[in-house]
Amino acid sequence: MSSQTPRPALGWFISDSLAVTKRHVIKITRIPETLFFALIQPVMFVLLFAFVFGGAINLGDGGDPKAYREFLIPGIFAQTVMFAVASITVGITEDANKGIMDRFKSLPMSPGAVLSGHTFASLVQNLLVIVMLSITGYAVGWRIRGSAVDTLLGFALLALFAYAITWMGAWIGLHMPSPEVAGTAGLAWIFPLTFASSVFTPIATMPSWLQGFAQWNPVSCLALATRDLFGNPIPFPGTSFPEQHAVALSFGYAFLILAIFAPLSVRAFKSRSANSRG
């Protein structure tokens, strides 16, 4: 308290968040395996679908593998962004079960900064994953054909979506009893969501009862928006509302997720660390 300098609350929130971000970024460098497996996962999906399943998926063009790969990569971007949830759940549950939570709570720091700092560090990790995926995509023949502005908008959308999803991950993590459970719970719901979407296959090839869900599915929207912004092929262009407004709807979904899960997480954080300890 000797040398505290006066600063507005927002200023403290930012500097506290950055201090916590630094903590987690250091952690990523101390356990490089975390980053390695986060990077390797989307690469595996690219290889798997580009060379194993891809040949069996019909885009209506007679099965051109090159066209499928251009269709696939934006889908994998969307899927990878959903996996951002896993970059944070385990760490959040681990912290919540340890004495360090009490330490944070007893410090004169902004209470929200513990979570926002953690989500910033996750964003750093997820940006690296997006870069890695871009390189892999390029290697298998994916090209950006959109304008520079659209391309930037595309990457901005992916980053924003990934960031919003980490808040969802934080919220899940705060409700899990142990890191082991958090690891599974963070991912379990992602698989149906990404497979019942236009990530790997066009929606038009799905049974009609599934199409409505797949069209509104945020993962489909994001995949479609990414294809649109990067100028990649969109086979069977749909006429439904979500398919017509995929970019705007994706931004809308991202902000909605953020607006719901950021405050919910902060609330869960306060009540969790207030009433229990591991």
Binding site: R30, G99, M101, L107, A274, R277
Partner: protein, 330 residues
């Protein structure tokens, strides 16, 4: 001297578990208060309320002049907390941990770094400071944890069982550090299960049992109520138990306690070694064979025995009860 901690009618229930039933005590600035009691007596709950981690159901508490529920942000600038488990990041080095907490205490970058170096030196961690905590021993972790709670020069320090699980040498080291802090004017509230520890460190002791304050005073006052040393003996033949009590009861300074199942007699005495010699002599004269005899200092069990008539029981820990209520509201 002013009041650093004021606790008034503090009450906290976790579902059916009554953790605190309206406790009262005060701690004067620059002194040490020992909160003594078995597991589940409400020690940790008290500390957590005072450190603004829990809100009480009723009553109020002030720390450094600020109300813990109405003005928690101000309280947090005055306090340091060391819990039962090391509250540091395993993957960071000692120095990185201290700098992180320094920044979060809103020290400048430069001051955080300076303070971290100071504390590492003071706690004998200068060499280990740039190594990851994973490789630290239990004693080193505790020292780093204490250093972390001192990062902001707190005027009030909460230590929740600071020496539980430490070897005797580390324990005495911890006592030295605490004494030093108090000499510099820090107010310390520490919880402990050991009467000896409270005796060594605290100028005042509050004894908790099932969420109630059952005694408070200086260590001397408390010991007087317990009755000083006690002789504990086990007779070889249970039939001779009453005869043994008759033979030696006049040596005791208080009522002897008899446990027929373990054939044990406990006699409070004031004469120390003289009393034990006299006891052995009389028992020998009366031809009562004994299996074991010892003279010992009063323990927490003795305090409880004399204050409540029951031995300190381990009840369900309040945290366990709290965790059962998943995601409970404040």
């Amino acid at each position: 001297m002013s009041t650093a901690i004021e606790v008034n009618g503090l009450t906290k229930h976790f579902g059916q578990v009554k953790a605190l039933n309206g406790i009262n005590f005060e701690v004067q600035q620059g002194t040490v208060l020992g909160l003594l009691g078995p597991n589940g007596s409400g020690k940790t709950t008290t500390v957590r309320i005072l450190a603004t981690l829990l809100t009480p159901d009723a009553g109020f508490a002030k720390v450094g002049g600020f109300d813990v529920t109405k003005d928690p942000a101000k309280v947090r600038t005055e306090i340091g907390l060391t819990g039962q488990y090391a509250a540091v990041d395993e993957y960071l080095t000692g120095r990185e941990n201290l700098e992180l907490f320094g920044r979060l205490f809103h020290l400048s970058k430069k001051d955080s770094a300076k303070r971290a170096t100071e504390l590492l030196e003071r706690f004998d961690l200068a060499d280990a400071g740039d190594r990851g905590i994973k490789g630290y021993s239990g004693g080193m972790r505790r020292r780093l944890d204490l250093a972390a709670s001192l990062i902001g020069n707190p005027s009030v320090l909460f230590l929740d069982e600071p020496t539980t699980g430490l070897d005797p040498r580390s324990r005495i080291g911890m006592w030295d550090v605490i004494n030093e802090l108090v000499k510099d004017g820090t107010t310390v509230l520490l919880t402990t299960q050991y009467l000896e520890e409270a005796d060594q460190l605290a100028s005042k002791i509050v004894v908790l049992d099932h969420g109630n304050v059952i005694a408070q005073g200086t260590s001397d006052e408390l010991k007087a109520s317990v009755g000083g040393d006690r002789i504990e003996l086990i007779v070889a033949d249970g039939q001779q138990l009453n005869k043994a009590v008759e033979t030696i009861s006049s040596i005791g300074s208080g009522q002897p306690i008899i446990d027929e199942i373990s054939k044990r007699v406990l006699v409070p005495v004031s004469g120390g070694s003289k009393a034990i010699l006299e006891t052995v002599r009389r028992l020998d004269e009366a031809k009562i064979e004994i299996e074991d005899i010892s003279l010992r200092r009063p323990t927490l069990d003795d305090v409880f025995l004399s204050l409540t008539g029951h031995i300190a029981e381990e009840v369900v820990e309040e945290q366990t009860a709290a965790r059962g209520r998943k995601g409970g509201k404040k």
